[in-house]
């Protein structure tokens, strides 16, 4: 990506979660299981694809510690294997 262009929202500090949920958008089919398991993290867009809060829209969604177990379930249960837990600091 060329650069990050601000869309008017000021960046806010983050407590740097230990894991992030990586969405492989080439696999994601919008089945919606992840948004059911992680309602605090993911909604769905108008086409049914998982949608993180505006702050974390992207390929890797930071997962707070209290959601980590549910995120692991979501990654394990995704019917098209589109989810993976990653270390956000490694990327």
């Amino acid at each position: 990506m060329n650069q990050t262009i601000s869309n008017g929202r000021p960046p806010r500090p983050d407590p740097a979660p230990a894991v992030a949920l990586h969405i492989d958008w080439t696999r994601c089919d919008g089945r919606g299981l992840c948004s059911e398991l992680l309602p605090e993290l993911l909604g769905r867009d108008e086409w049914g694809y998982p949608l993180a809060s505006e702050r974390h829209r992207g390929r890797d969604i930071p997962v707070p510690a209290e959601s980590e177990a549910a995120a692991r379930d979501a990654a394990a249960l995704c019917p098209v294997l589109a989810l993976r837990l990653t270390d956000p600091r490694a990327r």
């Binding site: 060329n2 650069q3 080439t26 867009d45 086409w47 390929r59």
Partner: protein, 417 residues
Amino acid sequence: MTIETTAAREPETRVIVSRLLAAGPDADFARHLARFGAFDPAAAAPRLLAELEASGLTGRGGAGFAAWRKCAATADARDSSPRARRVVIGNGAEGEPFSRKDETLLRNAPHLVIDGLLAAAAAVGASELYLYAGEPGLSAIHGAVAERADGAGIRVTAAADTFLSGQASAVVNAIATGRPLPRDPVGRLSESGLRGRPTLLHNVETLAHIGLIARYGADWFRAAGTAADPGTRLVTVAGDVPRAQVLEVHGGARIDAVLEAAGADPSRISAVLVGGYHGAWLTADQLGTALSPEALTPYGAHPGAGILLALDRTRCAVQTTAEIIDYLAGQSARQCGPCLFGLPALAASWRDLAAGAVPGAAPGEAPHRAWTLADAVDGRGACAHPDGTARLSRSALRVFAADIEQHRNGRCLRAAH
């Protein structure tokens, strides 16, 4: 007023420069050697990364990262198995419909690109070398590789004629599988690229600069351009200009000066799309801006792959943007849902803007659907195609707000001029 602006412009000699194309048109190996001298990549290798860092060379393919960093990351990649045989790829796929700079470089100075490829490979310890391009650059590469003994190990791969064929992971995918489609970014190419090997991928213009820096050093490179934007860059000037052309210009050259050097009359131009279809619009009063990453940042723009698309003041900016976004929607790799569905929806919203049909979006009310759709696709794909398309849409919504308002009233600002 006219005299003042003319005097304020830099003389052409401060804009145009001849480095990459200094061996002349269609330079064969003999003329290349006569102009630039013989070159030994192995001898240059030990100092190359330090020279590249000192030179300040940035990637010329669009992303604009420091060229030495990718080299260093590939050189430092974990080296624990035979699979770690390093790879260097020269990327000459030029997906931007108006861009001709890589094609021009490959036709006229293919040997400089090959020198840079060999130098980079020697510096990072790579044993597998590729050049990837579409026609007519591809034929030029084949001809040049055959002319020199050290070209024997270079594999030449044809690039598809699609907007995304030059995207980094699509290049690696195309070479490995024949499918020029972006991949989910699992890690860095420098760690795991082509068939899992540490891979250095540079644009062919970046490699040509490396070919010169390997010969003449960082100080020589910095003798052109500015401290913040050193060296030179190839620029394609296209759109509403007398003749579309590729120029080599000093880093930090003003956009209006580049347009004039290309024979355009800046007073005829209402806006310029800077950086290509994933770029941003600058208005006529902003054309004194330098074509450098630093100077363009306040406009959300970037030199990108060096494209200036000029818009004549009689041409409708809203319609032009709608057509570009429609093209970009059609160039989705159709792999990622938000891009597959979101970009056509964004294109439809721009058709509505151009047609003046904008239900429920009076000034001050809820933002037009083009704004919400840009937010809906941004960052939500394996590659940056949705991000870049969102950037263009947001830029046009800001810059052409008055035009859009006129369209809403059934008029067009441009028709009267």
